[in-house]
Amino acid sequence: MSEEQVGPQPVAAEEAAPASAGRKKRRRGRVHVFDNWCKGCGICIAFCPQHVYEMDEDGRPVVAHEDQCTACHWCDVHCPDLAIVVTDVEEDAHGGTTDAGQ
Amino acid sequence: METNDRYEIRLAGEGGQGLILAGLILAEAAAVYDGKNAVQTQSYGPEARGGASKAEVVISDGVIDYPKVIAADLLLCMSQEACSKYVYGMKKNGILIVDSVHVDRVPTSRAYMIPITKIAEEATGRRITANIVALGLIVGLTGVVSRKAIEAAVRARAPKGTEALNLKALEAGLAEAERIRAEAERGQSVPIRAS
C-alpha cells in the first residue's frame, strides 16, 4: 500500500467535480461512516456532490448510493468528527473495482 | 423540622436535551404558581452539547436547606449513562421514568419505559421538545405540581414563539401519563416502580 494513496485523499479543487466521463478508469470510493464517532451533524449529507448519503430517522448519514461516489473526499476531509473514511477504488472498463494502490 | 416533606426530583441526561430548562420550569411551577418553596440546581460538564447533564429540583412546603437531591423521589433518565449512574440513588418507592428511545438497559423492571423523544416528535414534529413531554409525564404521574402551574410555567419560560409548540408537548406528556394511569388502574402490568 503506497503511502501516498491511502487515507483521505484530498483533491486540489475544493469542490469536487464528478469524475470526467472520458477517463478510462473512473475513480470510485468505498465510503465508511464510523457510527460511534458520527454525531449526525449532517455536513456530509448536505455537501456530498454525488448525493451518496441519505439521512436516517435520527438525522444520521446512511451510505445509500456508494456507487455514485467519485472518491472526491469532500466528506472525509470535512467530517468534524473524523468519522468518515473514503477508500479509493478503481473501476475498470467493465465496471469491476479494485482497491486503489493495493 | 421541615426537612422531611421534601420532594426530590432528578432529571438526568445529556447536554442539549434541555433538562436544565425543564428543571427550571418545574421549579418555577412550584415556587411561583403553586406558592411552594422550590430549589433547582444543576450539574453539567464542559461540553456545550452532549456530555452528562443533570438538573435537580427540590420542592417543599417548608424551608429547603440542602438544595440537592439526597435520594430521588422521581428520577428521569434521558440517556443510558444517566440511567446507569443514578438509578441507585433513588428512594425506595421512587418513581423512575426512562426515555426508551435513548435507554435500553434499565437495571430494574420497575420503571416507566416511555419513548419520550418519539412522543415529542409525533406531537410537535420536534425531538427537542422531549424535555417538555417529560415534564408532562412527571406532573401527570406524580402531581408534584398542579397542572395549571406547569402550564403557566411552560408558557412563561418557553422561548418566544415556541409557547404553543411546547404546550402541545406538555399536553402530550400529560396525556401519556393519563393513559398509563388508566392502564395501571385497569390492572395492566405497567412496570411502575423502581426498587
Partner: protein, 373 residues
C-alpha cells in the same frame, strides 16, 4: 414584590443594580458568566456602563478607573480570573478605591472543574495579593442572601472605601430559588461621602473627622493624585516611615474599628449546645440541614452561619464555641476557614469536614461528624 424563581447570579445582578452599581467590566468565565450577560442587557437600560475587557486584569483595572470617576463599579469572575485580579485588588486596597469583586467559586486549583462548585478561594480572598492589605469578604448561602449581600458589599465598599469581595460558589450562583425581593425603597443604600471641603483643603487620604476620608470623583474640581505606591495624605508617593505608618494604621484601623458594622452572621445556638457547626456559603445549607437532622435525634447542636468571612468573626466564633466541646467546620475545600476557627477556639476542638472534588458536602456527612464520639 412578587415571588420569583431566581438564579443566584441573577440575584447578584439585581442586588448590584439595587445598590446603585452602574459600571461593570468583566471577562466571561464559568460559573460567573451569567452576571456579565445579564448586566450587558440591564446596565444600558438604566444608563449604566457595561464593557467586556480583554482579560480579568483589565476588568478590575477598569472597575477601579470607573470608581475613581465616581460610579459604583463591579466585576465578576471565578478562580482563574480571580487569581489574575490579585495585583489590582491590592491596588484598590492601597488607593482605597471602593469596588466589588464577585468570585463565583468553582473547583480548583487551576482550570480544575469549571462547572463544579467549591469554596477553595477563601484564603485567597484574604491573602491573594502581595503585602498586607485591608479587605472585606462576604459569602452568601442562598439566592436571597446573594441579593442582600451584594447590596451590602456595595454599601460596605462605599462606606469604608475598600474593595469588597463577594465570594459565591457555583451552587449558589447557578441555583434557582424562590425569592421575594424587598421593595427598592426598603433597602438601605450607602453612597460614598462627598468631599466637603474646598479643593485646597482636600486630602484624599486623610480627614481629621473620620478614618474614611471622602473620595472626590475625578473631574469635579478636586485635582489630586492616586498611586499604588505608599503615599502621603495628599496622595503623593512617600518613603517617610511616619506617613507610611499612618496609612497602615488608618487603613487597617478603619476595618478593625468597624468590625461590628462589617461582620454579620446568623447564630442559632441554644443554651446547652455541645457541638457547634460553623459554615458559610452553599455548605451552610448542608450544615443547617444536618443540624436539623441531629436535633431531631436529640443532639445538642448549635449553628453559626457566617455571612462575613473576612474580617473573620473571631468574637462570635469564640463566644459561641466556648460552651461547646466540639466545633465542626464543613467546607468545600481542604480546610481553609477552619484554620481561623482553630486559631480562635483551639485546634483540639475543631473537626473539619472537607470535600474538594466538585461535589457538595451532604447533610449526612456533617451529621456523621456531629455524631462522632
Amino acid at each position: 414584590m412578587a415571588a420569583r424563581l431566581m438564579q443566584g447570579n441573577e440575584a447578584c445582578v439585581e442586588g448590584a443594580l439595587a445598590a446603585g452599581c452602574r459600571f461593570f467590566a468583566g471577562y466571561p468565565i464559568t460559573p460567573s458568566s451569567e452576571i456579565a450577560e445579564l448586566l450587558s442587557r440591564r446596565l444600558p437600560q438604566v444608563g449604566g456602563y457595561f464593557i467586556q475587557m480583554e482579560d480579568e486584569i483589565a476588568s478590575i483595572a477598569a472597575v477601579i478607573g470607573a470608581s475613581v470617576g465616581g460610579v459604583k463599579a463591579m466585576t465578576a469572575t471565578s478562580g482563574p480570573g480571580f487569581s489574575l485580579m490579585q495585583e489590582n485588588i491590592g491596588y484598590a486596597a492601597m488607593a482605597e478605591i471602593p469596588c466589588v469583586i464577585v468570585n463565583v467559586q468553582r473547583t480548583g486549583p487551576s482550570t480544575g472543574l469549571p462547572t463544579k462548585p467549591a469554596q477553595g478561594d477563601v484564603m485567597q480572598a484574604r491573602w491573594g495579593t502581595h503585602g498586607d492589605h485591608p479587605i472585606i469578604v462576604l459569602s452568601p448561602s442562598s439566592v436571597m442572601e446573594t441579593f442582600l449581600l451584594t447590596v451590602r458589599a456595595f454599601n460596605l465598599s462605599e462606606k469604608y472605601r475598600s474593595p469588597v469581595i463577594l465570594l459565591m460558589d457555583e451552587v449558589v450562583g447557578h441555583m434557582r430559588e424562590r425569592v421575594e425581593l424587598p421593595p427598592p425603597e426598603s433597602l438601605e443604600i450607602t453612597n460614598r461621602v462627598a468631599a466637603h471641603v474646598p479643593p485646597e483643603w482636600y486630602f484624599p487620604f486623610e480627614d481629621p473627622s473620620t478614618d474614611v476620608p471622602p473620595l472626590a470623583p475625578f473631574g469635579e474640581g478636586y485635582r489630586y493624585h492616586i498611586t499604588g505606591l505608599f503615599h502621603d495624605r495628599a496622595g503623593f508617593p512617600t518613603e517617610r516611615v511616619d506617613e507610611i505608618d499612618a496609612w497602615i494604621a488608618r487603613a487597617f484601623g478603619r476595618i478593625e474599628q468597624h468590625r461590628q458594622d462589617i461582620i454579620s452572621y446568623e447564630e442559632d445556638v441554644p443554651a446547652g449546645s455541645r457541638v457547634l457547626v460553623v459554615a458559610y456559603g452553599a455548605t451552610a445549607r448542608s450544615a443547617r440541614h444536618a443540624v436539623k437532622l441531629a436535633r431531631a435525634k436529640r443532639y445538642k447542636v448549635g449553628f453559626l452561619k457566617l455571612e462575613t468571612i473576612w474580617p473573620f468573626p473571631e468574637e462570635a466564633t469564640e463566644r459561641l464555641a466556648r460552651q461547646c466541646k466540639r466545633v465542626i467546620v464543613p467546607e468545600m475545600n481542604l480546610g481553609q476557614l477552619a484554620l481561623e476557627v482553630e486559631r480562635v477556639v483551639g485546634r483540639q476542638k475543631v473537626r473539619r469536614v472537607n470535600l474538594a472534588n466538585g461535589e457538595m458536602i451532604t447533610p449526612q456527612q456533617i451529621l456523621a461528624a456531629i455524631e462522632e464520639k
